[in-house]
């Protein structure tokens, strides 16, 4: 009886195993890199209707975050200021600058400026700003160095891992409440080593890892 399969087919199983191993490795590596929020979210920088620079307002002028995002300590939501907040200064400063036309129009008509939201958790996630900023979690942890950004971009992945890493070990990320909005302040430079652990104990920081804490 003639052979059904040619001689080289003896090597086929080995080649198939090697091929599957390589393809599998490439697929895992590809998904690992390209399919997580570290890749899909970080760097997102939409074009905004007004080229507002946080670097100018925070770093140069020294405005506090809470001057504009005034609800952050009281609400789950950190509000985007209305145009009237801008006009507190800009009715004097750069009052005829064409870059601020949309702000003046909004202030006059009451129709909000259509800012594009950059940081957004999925709608099945509950996130509360006030509980975080009141327990010494700085803005910089989740939003990155906004104080250095000319236009805001997505600096951190805000993935579930990102949340859980801190919820599982919150101590190193705590800082004194008065420094929460001081984004340039480095806690590791100024605080003693075990300060975080002590703060965690004193403030009864009990970061929940229960599913229903966020997925309500």
């Amino acid at each position: 009886m003639a052979n059904i399969f040619p001689r080289w087919s003896n090597r086929l199983p080995l080649l198939v195993i090697i091929g599957l191993f390589l393809v599998g490795t490439a697929a895992i590596a590809g998904i690992w890199y390209y399919f997580t929020p570290k890749y899909t979210r970080v760097g997102y920088q939409p074009v905004q209707p007004v080229p507002f620079s946080h670097a100018v307002h925070v770093d140069q002028i020294g405005l506090d975050c809470r001057y504009c995002h005034s609800a952050v300590e009281k609400s789950w939501y950190s509000n985007i200021p209305t145009a009237s907040t801008c006009m507190n200064c800009h009715n004097q400063v750069l009052k005829d600058d064409p870059r601020l036309a949309a702000i003046r129009e909004s202030a006059a008509t009451g129709i909000p400026v259509p800012w594009v939201q950059v940081h957004k958790v999925p709608d099945y996630v509950y996130f509360n700003h006030s509980v975080h900023v009141n327990r010494g979690i700085s803005c910089v942890h989740c939003h990155g160095e906004i104080n250095k950004m000319d236009e805001v971009y997505h600096a951190k992945p805000l993935s579930m891992t990102f949340c859980l890493d801190c919820h599982r070990n919150p101590a190193p990320n705590l800082r004194p409440p008065e420094k929460v909005t001081d984004l340039a302040w480095n806690p590791h430079q100024h605080l003693p080593k075990d300060w975080g652990e002590k703060a965690k104990k004193d403030w009864k920081v009990n970061a929940s890892q229960n599913c229903s804490a966020c997925h309500r």
């Binding site: 059904i4 399969f5 399919f35 570290k38 993935s159 579930m160 891992t161």
Partner: protein, 474 residues
């Protein structure tokens, strides 16, 4: 002296007829006949009975797939699930199908280790049945999770959410139990097929058949070394599968027993579930083999004796199941726990009493007829009882799941589950899936292990006159 012995007139030792064991293969068929006859089922023109069975099975399978598509695209609300009955037909069907698989593993592994030679006529089909039943079973947990595309969360895979399955949950144990079971069953079945696939390859008349059977025969030549390795691997896999017969359905029973729902939280569950699984599995083997042996003309290989032996297993396991039902009631009363007692009273006399008594009638009463030999040896009769067994075992799981859930602790939380048409057609549809797979198997693969069945013929036994034993004096 020695010379005298050899020359003397041969006297074959006489065994009284009533002590003679019925042979496992009738009519002293030669090896060649067995090869031709069994391989012939998967060769030649497709017989009419196959098409008559296949077309409706395929249509029903399409109905099943349509229902599943509708469920996935719309959500689990298309089923009749509600609070308090959050598990109903989905998990009933899962346990029903996974239980059926157990006969295949018992036949292929435990009966092999116990040297039960009659298994060779039915083990191939029973193992195939196991695999197809586990496929039907696996469908339900997968689709009942709602968001099917997140089904991989059941596996402990590193992920961007930094979360891990809950290893203390029996539902996760289930994932491992069922996937292990499927893998080992598939390997066992496939490995047992290799010598027969080579037979099919060598008999093939077309290039494509030769290629496909040849591909899956993995270059089997039937050399001594091949057989030696094969027998060793077979024994090892039989050893691996044996604990699975007991462990898989024990773990399935933990889905219920580990919870605190009255009617579920019972220590008798693991052995009771295992006995029920073997009971239902043999029921299904009988339901499949009785028509198959007749349509494919295999009556000389799957004999009345085989059917009778399976009936005895059905009767024994059915009695164990009946004992477990009685013991559940006894313990419910003996425990002094009013919730536990209520759960069982409610089963037998509550709104689902009809389901309970169907279960008792089919599972406990109907197999008792097998105490009589005439009942065990009449294939038509056995077929009907085997259908009752299948019905009864589906109702057993329905009774356990739905009647326990529908009235738990708080009367304000009570309800009555009714299935929707999607529930009903998805379940019926899995029979289409199961039968489609089984018929494809029967049409393209040898339904009986050709090489093994030859080993239980008289001529394979060197101590038998047909096998070459020299007659001697007494």
């Amino acid at each position: 002296m020695a010379e005298q012995l050899v020359r003397s007139v041969p006297v074959i030792p006489h065994t009284p007829a009533e002590l003679e064991r019925q042979p496992l293969i009738l009519n002293q068929r030669p090896f060649g006949w067995l090869s031709d006859h069994i391989a012939g089922v998967a060769e030649g023109k497709t017989p009419r009975w196959w098409w008559i069975a296949f077309v409706p099975s395929f249509v029903i399978m399409v109905v099943c797939l349509s229902c599943v598509t509708y469920l996935i695209s719309t959500g689990v609300g298309v089923w009749g699930l509600m609070i308090p009955v959050g598990w109903a037909w989905d998990i009933t069907n899962f346990v029903f199908w996974i239980g059926i698989g157990h006969a295949g593993t018992l036949i292929s592994a435990i009966l092999f280790l116990l040297r039960q030679r009659w298994r060779t006529s039915i083990n191939r089909a029973a193992e195939a049945m196991t695999i197809f039943a586990v496929i039907c079973a696996g469908l339900f947990p997968l689709i009942h999770i709602g968001r099917v595309w997140l089904g991989w969360w059941l596996l402990p895979l590193p992920n961007a959410n930094s979360i891990w399955p809950q290893f203390r949950s029996p539902l996760l144990w289930d994932v491992f139990a069922v996937s292990t079971y499927f893998t080992v069953s598939l390997l066992f079945w496939y490995m047992g097929l290799i010598p027969d696939l080579a037979t099919m390859r060598d008999r093939a008349t077309t290039k494509i058949r030769q290629f496909l059977y040849g591909l899956f025969a993995l270059g089997w030549t039937g050399s001594n070394r091949h057989w030696s390795n094969y027998e060793k691997a077979y024994l090892l896999l039989a050893g691996l599968s044996t604990p699975l017969v007991l462990s898989v359905h024990s773990i399935v029973s933990f889905d219920f027993a580990v919870s605190q729902v009255p009617g579920w939280h019972t220590t008798i569950f693991p052995p009771y579930f295992v006995a029920g699984a073997i009971f239902s599995g043999f029921g299904m083997v009988l339901s499949l083999m009785i028509p198959l042996r007749s349509w494919a003309h295999l009556e000389e290989i799957v004999t009345i004796r085989h059917i009778e032996l399976m009936c005895k297993v059905v009767m024994a396991t059915g009695s164990i199941v009946g004992y477990a039902y009685a013991m559940e009631f006894f313990i419910a009363w003996y425990s002094g726990n009013p919730y536990e007692l209520y759960a069982f009273k409610n089963r037998a006399f509550g709104p689902y009493a009809w389901a309970y008594w169907i279960m008792v009638g089919c599972n406990v009463i109907s197999p008792q007829i097998f105490w009589w030999k005439w009942a065990r040896t009449n294939p038509w009769f056995v077929f009907i009882i085997s259908i009752f067994v299948n019905i009864g075992m589906w109702f057993e799981r329905f009774v356990i799941i739905v009647t326990s859930l529908h009235r738990d602790y708080m009367p304000s939380n009570w309800g009555y589950f009714k299935p929707t048409w999607v529930d009903i057609w998805t379940f019926i549809g899995t029979f289409g899936l199961f039968m489609t797979l089984f018929l494809l198997f029967a049409r393209f693969l040898p339904v009986i292990a050709i090489s093994e069945v030859k080993g239980v013929t008289p001529q394979a036994d060197p101590h038998h006159p047909l096998g070459g034993a020299k007659p001697h004096h007494h």
